[in-house]
Amino acid sequence: MLTADHVDARRKGGELVLRRLDARGLAEAHELAEAYLAAARSHVGRTREELTEAWKEIGTRAPKRKLAAGIEKLVDDACGFDADDDLDPIAIRRAIFLRATEARRARGDAKPFDRDAVVAEVAASTGRTAAELDAALFADLRGEHVLRAAPASTASMIVEAYELGQAQAVLLRAVRVTCEIESASPGAMRAFFNQLKFHRLLFTVSRKDDAGFTIAIDGPFSMFESVTKYGLRLALVLPALRLLERWSLVADVRWGKEREALVFRMSSGSARPNEAPPPPHLADEVRALLDGLESLHAGGSPWQAAVATTLLDHPGLGVCIPDLVLRHRDGADPVYVEVLGFWSRDAVWRRIELAEQGLGARIVFCASSRLRVSAEVLADEAPAALYVFKGKPSARALLERVDRVASASLVSAPEGPYAPAPCTSSSPEPRAGSAKPSPAST
């Protein structure tokens, strides 16, 4: 990963703006990546110091020093170095330094200390030459490590990693990140929230008009002090954010030695205001279930299914991102469906806990029988159901659970303005809960 030293950015007002590679810059980056990779390939079997010297030449001639340093770092990260294990440098040093101390103490004042004689004496006792011992004396130092494998990456891969790495390196200095997300792919959204949870970050979710969510992310201690302690975790979340269809990000960073407070922005970039979002990515089993439900609706079922664009959250407990939403033709509250498939049993138990605490919406969880869970864990009168399926989920069997859940009363949300509030991002769905910012946590 690149570090803040590799970032090529400028300050513009209170903002930190990355210098994007234009066509010429991209060409230069490719050229540099090719040069660094070629040098690495030609140095297999030689020391890191030799390779670094060769790379230094490339860097000195490069018009853009930071670009060269960043590309060098990424190529270096992809190299495989190892110490030469033919001789044991530690043992050699020990033998030579002990003998040198004795020799220095034993010599008369008139006789100078003879370094080469000491090395030759130890070499003779080990059956090696003095030159071999001299060469091996510090062979275990980083600079003496031998390049065993050159990177398998292409120049294009290195340049792509450079562009992502620039943004990640800025986020290393972030104290807080706010994302605006318009995504119709439950799987990608779920993966994003799983990353937040995995990295033990906290967040608040609020609905942004009718078009998506605003998610403010930082760490537990952040409410007392703006710390960059969570910067690495924020940087590691970026790849999951980039997999969403439309997103933008605003990071508060502390930049430079003076830790100047600046704002950093980036976005998916491709979206224009009136452009329809790309079609959602659906898991195969969800797509099959949706097709089955649509067939049943065409055959007279009162339930119409669509891909859900809703996020249900319960502060302090977690987030639930349904895959589908089913609306009854008589206009009753929708019922959500989350397909857990072959996930872990833990995931199922977490959903059950969320449902018992009250998600503020009706929902059916679909889990494979391989997870060894029973549908009876949720009470019949609960506004949530667990549909345990064998093989593939059946649309008809799912609708039976949906009918039951639709008639159940909703579990009361906890008191106060911080009650769980489903945040709805598309206008056709009813907006459950209040319009106030809805806090959530992992």
């Binding site: 020093r65 330094f97 002990l98 103490r105 537990p220 201690f221 409410m223 830790r259 502060p315 911080y418």
Partner: protein, 455 residues
Amino acid sequence: MAASLAFRAGTIELRGVARDRAGVPAALAWDDRAACFRAPAIAYASVIAALRGAAIEVDDDVRRDDELASGARVHREPRFFQAEAVGAWRAAEGRGMVVLPTGAGKTHVAVMAIDAVRRSTLVVAPTLDLVRQWYDLLRATFAVPVGVVGGGDHDVQPITVTTYDSAYLHMEHLGARFGLVVFDECHHLPGPTYALAARLSVAPFRLGLTATPERADGREAELEALLGPTVYRRDIGELAGEYLADYETVQVDVELLPDERAEHDAERALYLAFVAKNGIRLGSPRGFGEFVMRSAQSMEGRRAMRAYRRQRELAFAASGKLAYVEHLLDRHRDDRALLFTQDNATAYRVARRFLVPVITHQTKVTERSDILAGFAAGKYAAIVTSKVLNEGVDVQEANVAVVLSGSGSVREHVQRLGRILRKRDGKHAVLYELVTSRTAETGTSERRREHDAYR
């Protein structure tokens, strides 16, 4: 639902209390993200006191520290100032900083504090060498398990030793597990990162140890909030002779050889011409940073940076210095000498040329231990090092220090002197400072000698 207080990731969470409940301590702020009250872990003691004052009952599940199964099994008679220091620290309710000169036995103050409190203890030290030294000492002193976190180890025990880096990284998990935290060389603590090691811990007992709390950036004032006040202080002049070895400092001026002088002056002129041309004021606090920035922006600048490095390198490792090192190694071949350099490259150059063992951050722990043991046993007469032995590492037998090169830091210079001041019968210590005449090193030397120890 009963209110509960728990440790979470370097903070404490209060749950089961309504947001608008009266009397909730001010240190606890409502956290929208998790729908609970939250305070920094360091506020734990004051939060508990305030909750009691407000008659808010809570199930306190915060602390995970234990009473040590036994106290110290080895008791050494403390020196008067060590006993006074621990007494002052206890009188301050087990919070605060003890300032004693290097070699005066700060470690023993910590051992006495751990023995007095008898709670699970975390010792935080700046380097892996010091971690290893603390580990050895604590294992020899206490009968309870001692663990290490850092340098590839993650073994949390009732007494654990770690580095500042690891404490910063792991305190959000470890912060409730220790009743006492000892910050060795605690002048490292202030600052945006390491300070979190103190803020993310609930430990009610805190002890800071240092010889030199003062920092160039003046942030030593933060130590009081992180650890407590300075509870005891003795300076080097009060203890030299009786409790520290007698010592002298010798400054040796070395001339560059004619060809070195010519190259040095040419490179220096080139570097200074760039500085002048760009209107950079090197005397101002940001001057050098500006030079670094400007030098990266052009070929001419990069050449100027290379010139700066070269003239510095010539001053640091002048051949006259190396010749004088040869003389000193011979002169002190029956003593124990520590040779200090500013950079690793010079340390390795000295090691290779004079066949002297070298310790840098690249030296593995086992080899470091072997070299230090060999030095203690007299198998080696000298060790060359850059900065890793500057602080705290106990090389009791060392009586000669040779500073080949260093920064302008007063603290670094005092710490290096401190390495040879451990008291031993008949010991007379000497510190040689080799300075290349008519180079920037002359000014650097003057800056670092601005301390009572050198007057």
